[in-house]
């Protein structure tokens, strides 16, 4: 029983220490002037973040539709048509697979980003400026990852276009 109490006390001290050091670290990383500036611009920052949250949701829906349409209504039908006509379309099919995989990564990254943004919007920056600042940084990193995912998708779309033009020129050359 005593051992159990000692062990529980030890873990409680460890947990308290970790939480306290985290709070101290968050406070100490920023100067008092910086914290004051965050408090002063708190309403402006939160308004901007709220607008960004809404416009990002719209962008996600529209982009999601666009990416989905390209895959299901353009890439897949062309690959199918090439296969049905017994032409060589392995590169196009491989790029489509990679593109579909990357759209899943995009969806997952957006979910992470949106959850982080929702947590950020719940922080009262007038009372917790240091936590707010840290949360902004974390959300910004997730937004950067999301941006990179869209860049990768753009790169794959261009790669598919290049492969299509190669196929088209080979096809034209073969037909002559």
């Amino acid at each position: 029983m005593n051992r159990l109490l000692v062990a529980l006390s030890f873990f409680a001290v460890l947990l308290f220490g970790a939480v306290a050091s985290q709070a101290v670290h968050a406070q100490s990383a920023l100067s008092e002037q910086h914290l004051q500036r965050i408090r002063q611009n708190c309403v402006t920052a939160q308004t901007a973040l709220n607008q960004l949250h809404a416009s990002d949701a719209l962008l996600r829906v529209n982009r999601g539709q666009l990416y989905e349409n390209i895959s299901t209504k353009l890439m897949a039908p062309l690959n199918s048509r090439i296969a049905l006509n017994r032409h060589e379309g392995l590169k196009l099919a491989a790029t489509t697979l990679e593109y579909d995989r990357q759209t899943d990564v995009f969806r997952s990254s957006y979910k992470d980003y949106e959850e982080s943004m929702s947590r950020l919007l719940q922080i009262n920056c007038a009372e917790q400026p240091a936590e707010f600042y840290e949360s902004v940084q974390e959300t910004r990193e997730k937004r950067q990852r999301l941006h990179e995912d869209t860049e990768t998708l753009t790169m794959l779309l261009r790669a598919y276009k290049t492969e299509f033009e190669d196929f088209s020129s080979d096809f034209g050359g073969g037909a002559e």
Binding site: Q33, R37, L49, A54, A57, L59, V61, R63, I70, H147
Partner: protein
Amino acid sequence: MSEEELIAEAEHLNAWQRHKFMVLVGLTIALSLVLVSVSLWLYNTSGAAQLDLSRPGYQSVRDQVGQDTDFEGYASSGVIDEAALDEFRKLYDEQLERATAVESFGGSVMSNEALGIDAPTAQTQ
């Protein structure tokens, strides 16, 4: 059956027989709460919540959702010839242009400067 007979019969019922209707109602409510909790959990974890623009806070952007339902796409059957390839090229270029025209989720709108939470310089102190 008269009222007296019903009362006499009810006196012989045990607790379960007397309250089974209330238990049934209680179990139905409990089951519906469990099912609602499961559906809300699925709604949040599946990513559907992030796409749901009917939530409060999205009124301003709700009517700006693009309607791509009329985009029929490319036929998956048919011959492959120059005309078919040209048709695909035209459709693909249109969508490629839409996908690459604007930078998505750029970082500048969320910079410290844009939000007004950057560290004050010596001059502003």
